[in-house]
Symmetry: C2
Subunit: 274 residues, 2 copies
């Protein structure tokens, strides 16, 4: 039986015909004027963007760092995810947190992500190995999305080091696909900025979903991402855009501009799916 | 000029004659009865432990996951670090958070650790490479303590994979020592449960400090850790104990018991320093 995060994601791909993930990285310095004196700005801005873009989204991905930088940020994040779950119950919520620690501590982080914040899935850093992932994996109705090959320039520093003739990230992809994904609740993060690597990873992991950051502000190519990353049925991807949607306009039309940016990227992705 | 975290740590090693790091991982299920109905228990328990053990501590290390699992946990952590900075200004505070993300997000996490919580240093996961560390490294009055070889069983899964004939963790240690530590504000996490690895890492990194979790509950051997990990002057280590100090007694004498456990471990460490 697929985990409920996975079922929700697959249903959403099919029913809403979209592979777009809307990233919620609220930076007050970039907010429209309407939010300047708004004490609830973190929540209210993200809510407006989410409500405007939900019909084009296969997932929402709030980035916890943008909340954790502020006093009261966790309450805003909690309120935001509660709103998303209530208003858009068919759209899974991924908490982007990249957690990873020894088992006893990881158990606390699993409570943070799944119980306190109510996320359907969380991003995780695999460097500390299986027992650091186990408290998340055991919550098998939720999704565990592990860093594999990230979108930033530093991805080359360690992730590409050669291990037995293949780069480290391929070894990690294989270990997670073959050993950690027993309950079918795993996915991987692979950056759009390395489309050739995406093709290799897809060949290693079968139909496991991929979360793809790095289109838009980071420069990833949508056509290459979709052609190299999709599964045989034309799904398998959550192509994330954050800044390109959130800050499409800083004027009063920010929500409409976000909706237009989301629809446009959804359509561009769909052009290359089949 | 050494960073102020590094200066504070070195001064503390010398002046208090201790290499003991007191880990603050508050788990309400293990608290003494006095805290059962206390709304401020996270803060109050950690404050009592810290005040009782400060004279034996070269550093305090609150683990953010144990706060983040609870509503209001961040306010308790903030209050705790403010108390530590005010009452024990000579003891540096390490926020154990194991953060790591792309540069723009890492910048938010640096604000979280250093500005919102006021920590002197933070633990970081190096898997995403140099640009993910840069926003922390640039705050060069603060310390950046990177995961190298961790104390848990899963440390073997990826950290020991062979890269050009040596394990991955050695490559990471060398890269951080030779390329990332330009301002002298870096340290590494190396688990006490792998003392042979500790000797190899010390040979690679020179005098860079090591944060050593894994003595006590996790089973690391103090003598092997100190003999293999110390620098030539008998310092270079922050040997962490959390559960062995925090939960030395669940009765009314919890603070005295914590102080005794801390003094005893400080003395055991010192026995092998020279």
């Amino acid at each position: 039986m697929p985990s409920s995060f996975m079922q929700k994601l697959r249903d959403r791909w099919q029913q809403a015909d979209t592979l777009l993930c809307v990233g919620l990285d609220p930076d007050p310095a970039k907010f429209p004027d309407a939010f300047v004196a708004d004490e609830d700005a973190l929540f209210a801005f993200c809510r407006d963007i989410a409500d405007a873009t939900a019909e084009y989204a296969c997932a929402f991905k709030p980035q916890i760092a943008y909340f954790a930088a502020h006093n009261g940020g966790e309450a805003a994040l909690q309120r935001l995810i509660a709103h998303l779950n209530a208003t858009h119950p068919d759209v899974p919520v991924i908490l982007d947190a990249k957690r990873g620690d020894i088992g006893s501590t990881a158990g606390q982080y699993a409570v943070e992500a799944f119980d306190r914040f109510g996320a359907d899935a969380v991003t995780l850093n695999p460097y500390m190995g299986h027992d650091s992932a186990a408290p998340f994996l055991q919550r098998n109705d939720r999704g565990c999305i592990f860093l594999c090959h990230t979108s930033n320039p530093g991805a080359r520093d360690f992730q590409e080091l050669p291990v037995d003739g293949a780069p480290l990230y391929q070894h990690i992809a294989r270990t997670i696909a073959e050993e950690w994904n027993v309950d079918g609740n795993c996915a991987l993060v692979v950056g759009a900025t390395f489309p050739e690597e995406l093709k290799v990873i897809r060949a290693i992991i079968g139909d496991m979903p991929l979360l793809i950051p790095g289109v838009g502000a980071q420069g990833g190519d949508v056509e290459a991402v979709v052609r190299n990353g999709r599964t045989a049925d034309g799904t398998g991807l959550m192509v994330n855009s954050s800044r390109g949607i959130l800050y499409a306009s800083m004027d009063a039309d920010y929500a409409d501009a976000a909706a237009n940016a989301a629809r446009s990227l959804r359509d561009e992705i769909n052009r290359y799916r089949n």
